[in-house]
Point group: C2
Chain length 209, copies 2
DNA sequence: GGCATAATTAAACAGCGTTCAATAAAATAA
DNA sequence: TTATTTTATTGAACGCTGTTTAATTATGCC
């Protein structure tokens, strides 16, 4: 058996999350189990329950890692020093942002899908450290929206959330075949239409005030 | 035991779906199991597998029933003879439509949530009869969008899908606490903002062409 | 009545999340 | 160094899951 000091609690956590993410990547959220994770890292399931609270806790940490990965991919392209900062107008930048998300969801379908297939009981709020990972993603959008919306904090917040949730909705329903698309419709073309009209509306209504 | 001719196959199917929906309503998708359904209708799990293909098949039929219920609720308010047809302008009608969906999701959280917690394997397409239930929902939106978009079939299709998916995205992320909302932000206020800007954009851009 | 057909069941299988007593190893005290 | 306390790890158990299958039971037909 694994000896007591082979790994610290933190090391086991890290190993488990990495193995769990690989498992989900290969077999989907449905193919994931604590026992498989334990076997993959050379421990038994009891050790996992010594280190994690329960099944939800494990999945939450795996999903958080996926969120971090998504964030790092998007930051590379759209962060402060990203290469999409200079030459794109507002529309194109936001469309590229949406396309980047859709791309990630497609390329990492199982991990991305686990983000939403797993839900805590309705009365159990998401832990704060998890919410912060989500918040970090919104900052990217808000930065991109500032030229359009202006500096108003509350409006920026709201606009980013509306836009992002909408993009996600299109992505989610498209990839799970729940939009009954036909012909040339794709997640990208739909988000492009969303952004064009939504931003046009923002500018028009902003000008009216 | 239940005798052979107590119920036809079709009756058992109906009973199972009803019992399954009740189960999901009370205990959530995670609390659902074929054995519990079988017990609830006075049969054993083997009989269920005689009548349904597998677990996915059962859930799909339960979810289809939820879609039908959602459709009937929305048709009562927004269908051809619904009472929201006369006195509302385009914006208000669409906002009410979104609010109706959000309401349904909140009031029937477990059933609504099961619609998206359950996913077939990525290579298994949704059966046609299921897609048709979704399509019926879109017709409602398209009818509401016609005054704004015009008669162009393709544009109507696309606009309805963009708008609906966006509303769903806002609803889904809000109800699962993944939007990190603060203060006065609600699913309703966000969808209202979406619709106002999106429709304003549609009108502006429509006028420009 | 007897026979074929099909519905229903009980039991089995491997796997699941979760718990817990027993054990082994490390840390500490003597 | 040895004895004792602490704790990491295990294996086995519990009741549950989806799914399959052989045996049983009820029906329709001749």
């Amino acid at each position: 058996m694994a000896r007591r000091s082979d790994h610290t609690r933190e090391e086991i956590k890290t190993m488990a999350v990495a193995a769990g993410q690989e498992l989900i990547r290969d077999a989907g959220y449905a193919g994931f189990s604590a026992r498989k994770v334990a076997t993959a890292i050379g421990y038994t399931v009891g050790t996992l329950y010594n280190v994690f609270e329960n099944h939800d806790d494990i999945v939450l940490h795996i999903n958080a890692m996926t969120l971090e990965d998504l964030l790092s991919v998007m930051e590379r392209r759209f962060g402060i020093s990203g290469d999409a900062n200079t030459d794109l107008d507002d529309y194109e930048a936001l469309k590229a942002l949406a396309a980047c998300y859709i791309d990630y969801a497609r390329e990492n379908y199982n991990c991305w899908s686990a983000l939403f297939e797993h839900n805590l009981a309705p009365d159990m709020p998401l832990p704060d450290w998890y919410g912060e990972k989500i918040g970090a993603l919104f900052m990217l959008i808000e930065a991109r929206l500032k030229p359009v919306v202006g500096e108003d904090e509350a409006e920026l917040r709201q606009t980013a959330r509306v836009l992002w949730a909408s993009i996600h909705g299109i992505c989610a329903l498209t990839l799970t075949n729940k939009l009954t698309l036909v012909g040339v419709e794709t997640a990208e073309s739909l988000t492009a239409a969303l952004i064009e009209n939504y931003i046009a509306g923002l500018k028009t209504r902003g000008a009216e005030l």
